[in-house]
């Protein structure tokens, strides 16, 4: 008898297609069906830490904004803990750490309100700089793209971050760093994601 490993194989990915909103954000598709849509409240009212806004565009290889993207964020709380049994520590009641937004059909702008995450314990005891984990799907994207957003005002922590330093091309590291502005009250971090071409955002195989 031949020995076999007998692992199952992961189900293959397919594009989320142009109508992803029907399933994951039906209000945006133009109809109400659920009592509550998921992913709208990332941090909850009890969350400690600095309230921030994150916004940007997803830009295609022609330089045009992509207007049918769905983006999910996964982040730690201000102490660097994830809302998960293996998340490193407790989180505030109502802190979910997960959010889901879509791009505006006319402008392609997306944005969400949350709290700035703390530094997270990385591999081998090395701290990771504060970051958001992002996942992007849309028509024309065959398998969800993973990236990270880091904070432009965390220069020291970013310089020591073990993931940023894995990127051999130093000029590409800047594609992961959002710039902060304090226009009217709450800080805004701008993070444009370039799918292709000059200044293409770094994507990770996680």
């Amino acid at each position: 008898m031949k020995q076999t490993l007998n692992y199952l194989r992961e189900t293959a990915s397919q594009t989320a297609g142009p109508y992803v909103h029907i399933g994951l954000a039906p209000g945006a598709a133009g109809f109400d069906i659920y009592r509550q849509e998921l992913g709208q409240d990332i941090a909850g009212p009890n969350a400690r830490g600095e309230r921030i806004r994150v916004e940007g565009l997803v830009i295609d290889g022609m330089g045009s904004p992509v207007k049918d993207v769905l983006l999910e964020v996964w982040q730690a709380n201000a102490e660097g803990h994830y809302a998960h049994p293996e998340g490193g520590g407790p989180v505030e009641d109502g802190f979910r750490g997960w959010g889901r937004v879509i791009t505006d059909f006319e402008t392609g702008e997306w944005g969400f309100d949350t709290v700035k995450p703390g530094a997270v314990m990385g591999r081998n005891g090395r701290m990771m700089a504060p970051h958001l984990n992002l996942w992007i799907v849309s028509r024309g994207i065959n398998i969800g793209l993973n990236t990270r957003m880091y904070f432009g005002d965390e220069e020291q922590a970013n310089a020591a971050d073990p993931v940023i330093s894995l990127i051999e091309w130093e000029q590409r590291r800047a594609t992961l760093i959002a710039q902060r502005s304090d226009l009217g009250g709450i800080p805004v971090y701008r993070f444009d994601i370039r799918l292709q071409g000059d200044d293409e955002t770094v994507f990770f195989d996680i």
């Binding site: 992961e10 189900t11 990915s13 029907i22 970051h131």
Partner: protein, 240 residues
């Protein structure tokens, strides 16, 4: 033995980013290689959901948007299990689906296809797997529909499926197709997948055992998410 990282994703069974026959990918596919990351706590964690997040009717697409009658079309049960590559069930995980109606028309303000909308059909549903990783939906079998790729491109009947798993690395969106659909081998989106067996794995099978006589035909669709390693000799994920 402590569980630790997830198995590396087998990119040879997934579609690559650039698949020119599916035209939209040409401007939306990165040109540089992805940077491979060993899992940290940022990747092995992910959102969790509970029964407070959803309602019992959310998995019944025959009823969850019905105004004054049932929707028109072939009534089906869609069921299966969410497993990992080790064949372990993935319990309490959120499964979301969306689809066109029996005419192939989506309830979406951007869909302008001639196929008629159904006033009693929304086209989305969601549920949590039970402790055995089992899920089920009731819905209407979606129709095929045309799309602007080539002039005469038609999508096979399909249901979009989104699954979370227990970790952000398991996050997956895919599409399920129906056994015997002659459009499957013609579809440039299906054919973005390089591995014929991986395509077969997306085809839901007619399941007469789960069919409800005189009521609804059943299809079975199991979903496999990435498996997790057990650390045999070391656990260096967090430096211990």
């Amino acid at each position: 033995m402590k569980p630790a990282e997830y198995y590396q994703r087998d990119r040879t069974l997934h579609p690559p980013a650039l698949t020119p026959d599916y035209k939209t990918t040409t401007a939306r596919s990165p040109r540089y290689s992805m940077i491979s990351l060993q899992n940290s706590i940022s990747e092995i964690t992910g959102p969790t959901f509970g029964h407070n997040d959803i309602d019992p009717l959310d998995n019944d697409l025959v009823r969850n948007y019905a105004k004054d009658a049932d929707p028109v079309g072939e009534r089906i049960i869609l069921h299966g299990r969410v497993l990992d590559e080790n064949a372990r069930p993935v319990p309490n995980t959120l499964v979301e689906i969306w689809q066109a109606n029996a005419s192939g028309r989506y309830r979406h303000k951007k869909d302008t296809y001639l196929g008629a909308l159904d006033p009693n059909f929304g086209g989305c549903g969601r549920t949590l797997t039970d402790e055995n990783g089992y899920y089920f939906f009731r819905t209407i079998k979606p129709g095929a529909y045309p799309w602007r790729n080539w002039v005469n491109s038609w999508r096979p009947a399909h249901i979009h499926v989104s699954v979370f798993g227990a970790a952000f690395v398991q996050r997956l969106i895919t599409q399920l197709y129906f056994e015997g659909d002659p459009l499957i081998p013609h579809c440039p989106i299906v054919k973005t997948i390089p591995d014929p067996q991986a395509i077969e794995q997306l085809i839901a099978r007619l399941d007469l055992n789960a069919t409800i006589p005189l009521d609804a035909i059943a299809y079975k669709f199991d979903i496999v998410l990435r498996g997790r390693r057990s650390t045999l000799f070391e656990n260096r994920l967090e430096g211990n």
